[in-house]
């Protein structure tokens, strides 16, 4: 093979590679996007999503919620019941003390906070929740008080209670 012929072959190969990469890349990109979109639409069919306020990372009881611990996410509308805190009420959730362990992605529920957990203990003034929080904090600092900090610890208690009931 002469030198000029070899140069032409290399040039042709390179030009073909570049042209093929660009052309096929464009076509494949469009096709891939379409395939993924169609697949997503098909998988999402039947699910109506609604915006919700969710926990951004795993948290323990006793922690006070700040904006970096929360996120907005679309979830199946069945998750957003009246016990869920709506995203437009985020301001009411900020700085509240969590009383249960939660995982990332959990929809924030009013029952996660002392004042809105339920009718008992009866909070007579809007500031009474601070008494509950002070109790929680004082007990957490006590070496004799065993507070469940994770779902796993909570599960262990439930399992042992079930074992006791079975005996």
């Amino acid at each position: 093979m002469t030198s000029s012929r070899r140069t032409r072959v290399i040039l042709g190969l390179a030009a073909g590679f570049v042209a093929g990469s660009m052309g096929m890349g464009l076509v494949a990109g469009v096709v891939s996007y379409a395939v993924l979109k169609v697949s997503e639409v098909r998988l999402r069919a039947g699910w109506t999503l609604a915006p919700a306020l969710v926990v951004a990372r795993e948290l323990e009881p006793g922690q006070r919620l700040s904006s970096d611990m929360l996120a907005h996410r679309d979830v199946p509308e069945e998750f957003v019941t009246s016990t869920a805190a709506r995203p437009n009420l985020t301001a009411y959730v900020i700085d509240q003390m969590l009383i249960v362990p939660v995982h990332a992605g959990d929809v924030v529920r009013w029952s996660f906070f002392p004042a809105t957990r339920g009718p008992e203990p009866r909070m007579e003034s809007p500031f009474d929740y601070r008494i509950w929080e002070a109790c929680e904090t004082a007990l957490a600092a006590s070496p004799t008080h065993k507070r469940e900090r994770t779902i796993e610890e909570l599960l262990a208690r439930l399992a042992s209670r079930r074992g006791e009931a079975g005996r």
Binding site: V18, G29, V100, P121
Partner: protein, 267 residues
């Protein structure tokens, strides 16, 4: 030119094959990931409203499936139904709520602490508030002096504009007014009443205490202020009583919670 075009075609084919393989593999992986996210996983949900303190029965529960991407380890799977049956829920839940492990969190100790110390904390707050109100009443003296009737601000020559005292900046509740916070502003006469402070009284209100929060450009009114040295308005009484009550409650909360924990540790 023939070798060039043969090589061009070869390069084209190689590139197409490489790109197609790359996209096929990555799209397949994305599709698999997508299917995994939307794969249905069952969880337990409440079939009816459940009050706090209720012991769960089989009839209270049902099962629903949701895409895996929305399921978290906090949710109770159907496989764990035996673990939760008969357990007492520690929060109020409604029909349709997903059953969470957190629903069984044990709050008995802080609840007991709250029930024991809340009445003491409330009583401490009320005592402090009433003591402050009594002291305020004693400072007022009897009989109360009759307030001077407020003079109507004068109207200018045109008969449409009055000069009154206005705020130059935001003033928080309880702040003593300084001269730099006040200015003379003009307002249409139909907006000016005897409550407005006439321009010529500006120096008289320097040193008064704002008993409500004021904003820049607000027209100052007599009922928004009180004498800082000899207060006599209900707003001033509240300004003194509320912090005293808050402080007493905060102190009692700290002390009583600590006392409760000490009692628990002693047992």
């Amino acid at each position: 030119m023939k070798p060039f075009w043969s090589a061009f075609l070869l390069g084209l084919l190689l590139a197409c094959a490489g790109i197609a393989t790359f996209f096929y593999v990555s799209v397949s992986r994305r599709l698999e990931l997508q299917r995994g996210l939307w794969e249905l996983k069952p969880v337990l949900v409440l079939a009816k409203d459940v009050p706090m303190g209720h012991s769960l029965t089989f009839e209270d529960l049902s099962q629903r499936s949701f895409p895996a991407q929305f399921i978290s380890p906090s949710m109770v799977p159907p496989a764990a139904v035996q673990t939760v049956l008969g357990q007492t829920v520690s929060m109020t839940m409604q029909a349709g709520d997903i059953l969470l492990w957190a629903s069984f969190a044990d709050h008995s100790a802080p609840d007991a602490c709250f029930v024991e110390i809340a009445p003491k904390v409330r009583a401490a707050g009320v005592t402090a508030r009433e003591a402050m109100i009594t002291r305020f009443g004693e400072q007022l003296g009897t009989p109360l002096a009759e307030p001077e009737p407020a003079a109507m601000p004068k109207v200018d020559a045109s008969g449409e504009v009055s000069s009154i005292v206005v705020l130059t900046q935001d003033v928080p509740e309880g702040q003593v007014l300084e001269e730099s916070m006040l200015a003379i502003g003009k307002r249409p006469s139909y907006l000016v009443t005897a409550s407005s402070v006439p321009a010529e009284k500006l120096r008289e209100v320097v040193g008064a205490r704002a008993i409500v929060a004021l904003q820049a450009k607000d027209a100052l009114m007599w009922q928004m202020m009180d004498d800082a040295k000899q207060p006599r308005r209900v707003g001033s009484c509240i300004l003194q009583a509320a912090p005293a009550q808050d402080e007493a409650r905060a102190r009692a909360t700290r002390e009583e919670a600590a006392a409760f924990v000490r009692g628990q540790e002693a047992h």
